[in-house]
Structures are given as C-alpha cells and as structure tokens.
Symmetry: C2
Subunit: 156 residues, 2 copies
C-alpha cells in the first residue's frame, strides 16, 4: 500500500488536528504550558472573545487535554481553573516544534530568542529533535522512511 | 518580565500559526512530507475543494515553504508541482510530533501504528524528543524553563 492509497480516516495527524488543528486551540495550549490557568488570563493574553474561549476550553476539557480544578478568591464565588493533564502535556513537543520554526524563520537571529527555553540543570538551550528508539538522534527526513503500519487501511 | 506580561505580537508559536495554524495547511504539509507533489493528488487525498487547495498552496508558496516546479505529461499542458523547500522541511518535526500524539491517544496501541516511521539504517521506530544542546535528551516539561528572551517585548 502506498501513501496515496491509504485511508486518511484514522490518520493520527488528522485525528490530532481534528482536536487541536486551529490557531486558538494551540495558543490556549501554548499559554497553558507556560503556566496560565485562569479564564480571564487566557482571554486577556490571547485576545479571545469569551464565547470562543469558553467553547475551546470546554472541548479541550471534554477531550481530556485539560482538567478543571475549583478555586476561590476571597469574596468571590468559586470558579474553575484549567490545568493540563498528562495527555495535554504530551502535546508539549508540538508546541516546542512550532516555537523552533518560528524562532528560526520569523524572528531576527541576531536579536536572540523571543522565548528562551533552557534545560534547567545545565542551562543549555532546548530544541526538538527526531530520534530513533536505539538512540540515534537529530534524524533528518532523509534518514526516516514512512510506511503504512499494521493499523493502516486502504482507501474505500 | 513574566509570561503574561510578554507581548504576543512576535511570539514565535503565534507567528508560525499565522501561517500554518489551520488543519488544511498542516494536512497539505503532511502529504507533502509523504511525497505528494501534484494538485490533483493533494485534492483527492485530502478531500479539499479546488478553491481552498489553490489558495493554501499559493500561501505556502508565497511563504517559501513550498516551491513550484514545472512538469509536463505527454499530450497535456505544462503544470506546476509543489515541493517542500528547506524552510518547509523544517516543519517536519511539527508533523512528527502531531503524529506521535495521535498514535498514542487516538489509535489502538494493540493494533500498532497507522503510519510506521522507522530510522532507515537501523530500522528502529522514530519519535520526537526534546533535548538540550549539550546532548541531554528526552527532556520533560519539568526539566525545562521558559523565560522571555532578549527579543521579548512587554505588552503595550
């Protein structure tokens, strides 16, 4: 079976994008990985309408990417804040990869990074890399073959 | 400066998503990294209308992510096919990361992968990893700090 003969119905890229393949979704996740948890903070920082933000937070919570935790400020009613689950944190490499491309192609290299990601213990800059399970790292597309796996189906 | 005080105007994730933060864009790039080059092949495989596909290919070409190369089938007029540039291939880790999440959370692990990515020389499965420049690999979000870099600006 060749790529063009593969059904896209269960394509893992496509199914992921069905959930997060929208700019607002990924910006909410960007903010969440940077510690934002509260509705008004997401709204102000991303510049989203309340209606759109509510809808997207609801979808991310329903999908198990975010979970709600109640909090209460003195004198206010109880509200929910939004925290990434393990499933949500597993989208972090997508965001690191998007950041890396943006730093390389939309920024000014001489100016340095906009968002500086560093490995805490050693202080070295962080990057995303494609590697194999035997430990070969920094693989390029030419080093990798993509073939339909056992769960692939032919197109109808 | 804290995250919420940072201007999002030059955020590298946001500027990347301004270009590719849409499901169709990323599905076109998914197909392109799997060897699809011709208009009709993209259209049929992704299931996009001609108008939307033309528009997205035009935007990706204008952004330097794809380049056009003329080809001619016997008896037909000359047409363009679309090939990834270096700038386009540099989005490959984004797609590998999206695939990885989809294989983990939308597939059936017992069935195996839908799209099997293997390191050519050794045959081992391929994954995306966050690593630091000193070679520490498989970093988790807890190992990494994100701080505004020298190119960050405060919010107006």
């Amino acid at each position: 079976m060749e790529w063009l003969e593969m059904s896209t119905e269960n394509c893992p890229v496509q199914l992921t994008l069905d959930l997060v393949g929208e700019k607002w979704m990924l910006l909410i996740l960007r903010d969440a990985t940077n510690g934002v948890r509260r509705f008004d903070e997401f709204r102000r920082h991303i510049g989203l309408s309340e209606a759109v933000l509510s809808d997207r937070l609801r979808k991310l919570t329903a999908a198990g990417v975010l979970r709600t935790v109640a909090y209460q400020e003195p004198g206010s009613r109880s509200r929910n804040e939004y925290r990434l689950t393990r499933k949500g944190w597993d989208l972090w490499p997508v965001l690191v990869a998007l950041r890396q491309w943006g730093e390389a192609y939309t920024g000014d290299e001489a100016e340095g990074p906009v968002l500086d990601l560093r490995h805490d213990p050693c202080g070295a800059p962080v990057r995303v890399s494609v590697e194999c399970e035997r430990g070969h790292t920094t693989l390029s597309p030419a080093d990798v073959s993509a073939r339909p796996g056992p769960a692939a189906h032919p197109r109808p």
